[in-house]
Symmetry: none
Subunit: 254 residues, 2 copies
């Protein structure tokens, strides 16, 4: 089956302008151009458009979508599972927002007057997103796009077995961190083992490990509420402890 811009557009529920734009930015080129200069799409393009729209729905930028579907060894199911996880995260965010709104309503009913700081607390969720942007960008700036992209690519293509390994490592890391935290000494053997586990864990998603990057990430764990909350889950102060251990481990920053 062959499609013109309009027919494919109708099939997919997008505008023909969108298809021309996708051609323009090279994310979806027609199978061929006929003698009158018309774009003609085939089955393969139909599938590809489906992929694109799938990710677009998520709010993924076309730039990123491009890199995703360009990777030849692209595993459909893995991508879908990934997609699903992101949607679930989005829903969690939404739920938090709804809770905030309801709280605010309750407060307005109770006529409790809020301090100015409190007034903006409802937006903390969005700050997390901001941080993500901020640090994502920071990493790109410091270590270059290649590192980040390679890391992503590596992660996407991770085999099932490796994924399990990574999960187990993470668990071990958290357990060891809890143990080490008890010693109170970031230079202790067990604390240093924690730092090493963290490095091992990192290697699953980082293609180019450097001590500097590792140390910087450790500081980020402390600065970013989201990460801090993750590591502090068991004991408050764990994030700082991990950072200190990593500083010693890498010999960076003091």
């Amino acid at each position: 089956m062959e499609y013109t811009v309009r027919s494919l557009a109708k099939l997919a529920g997008v505008s023909s302008r969108t298809l021309r734009y996708y051609d323009e930015i090279g994310i979806l080129k027609p199978f061929r151009i006929n003698s009158s200069g018309y774009r003609i799409y085939g089955e393969e393009e139909v599938d590809r458009l489906q992929q694109i729209l799938f990710y677009r729905e998520l709010g993924v930028s076309l730039e990123v979508i491009k890199s995703i579907i360009m990777s030849s060894a692209f595993n459909v199911k893995e991508a879908l599972l990934d997609h699903r996880v992101k949607l679930l995260e989005k829903r969690t965010q939404l739920d938090a927002l709804i809770e905030n709104v309801e709280k605010t309503i309750a407060r307005s009913e109770g006529r409790i007057n809020m301090s100015n700081k409190e007034k903006f607390e409802g937006f903390k969720q969005s700050k997390i997103e901001e941080n993500e942007k901020k640090y994502g960008k920071e990493i790109r700036e410091k270590y270059g796009d290649e590192t980040v992209d390679q890391a992503n690519a590596k992660f996407r293509n991770m085999s099932e077995a490796n994924y399990k390994k990574m999960i187990n490592l993470e668990k071990e890391l958290l357990d060891t961190l809890a143990e080490a935290f008890k010693t109170g000494d970031p230079a202790s053997d067990i604390a240093q083992k924690t730092a090493d586990l963290h490095k091992q864990w990192l290697l699953f998603s980082w293609s180019a490990y450097t001590k500097e990057a590792h140390a910087n990430l450790a500081q980020m764990y402390v600065d970013d509420e989201r990460f801090a909350a993750y590591y502090d889950k068991k004991q408050s102060g764990s994030a700082e402890f991990l950072r200190d251990a990593i500083y010693i481990y890498t010999g960076m920053k003091k």
Copy 2:
């Protein structure tokens, strides 16, 4: 308390550029401009900014936000409740999307190959549309959009405790219906109790109960196989019996 651009920006977690932009488009003007041309904001502006960010989070355009907060008789609580309903709707949409993704994953596992049309069906929020077509449209036509939306919102937001109550009520309803059915008389006390239980049950998801709506729903139970099958589970003819009881209870339709 007075704020400069930066201090207000920090308080609210936005950039100073954003505040200047909001000034530019007239959505948030500073309280005054000092002798050096600096923007100075006061308490009122803090509140207003909060309102703006609240709606912005929803994805409402600044243009619309402007019109919302410009309306002088602006009721805060009403706005919040409105805001909340929109968030709930958004969540419903997200849930539909997640279901679609999961279906697609399941299909990919079953290796069922889809026709091109089917491939794009996942994007049409098919479930919502389907339901809308089947029941929503009918209800919307009869009772108006508000009722339907409020009912959905109410349902989604039901507390755990209320949910259990509703489930218990439903069980009691079915038991009582079975009892009443034995009498064969839709006007009998127990049949009327059944109708009342049904109303109670309805109130969990209907925000505005009317006798007319109740009676119409009863007829729908008979007409629609899905509902009919549900009520006829124990005894065939229960759906009609319930309808007749409700007709008498509500005094509608003869």
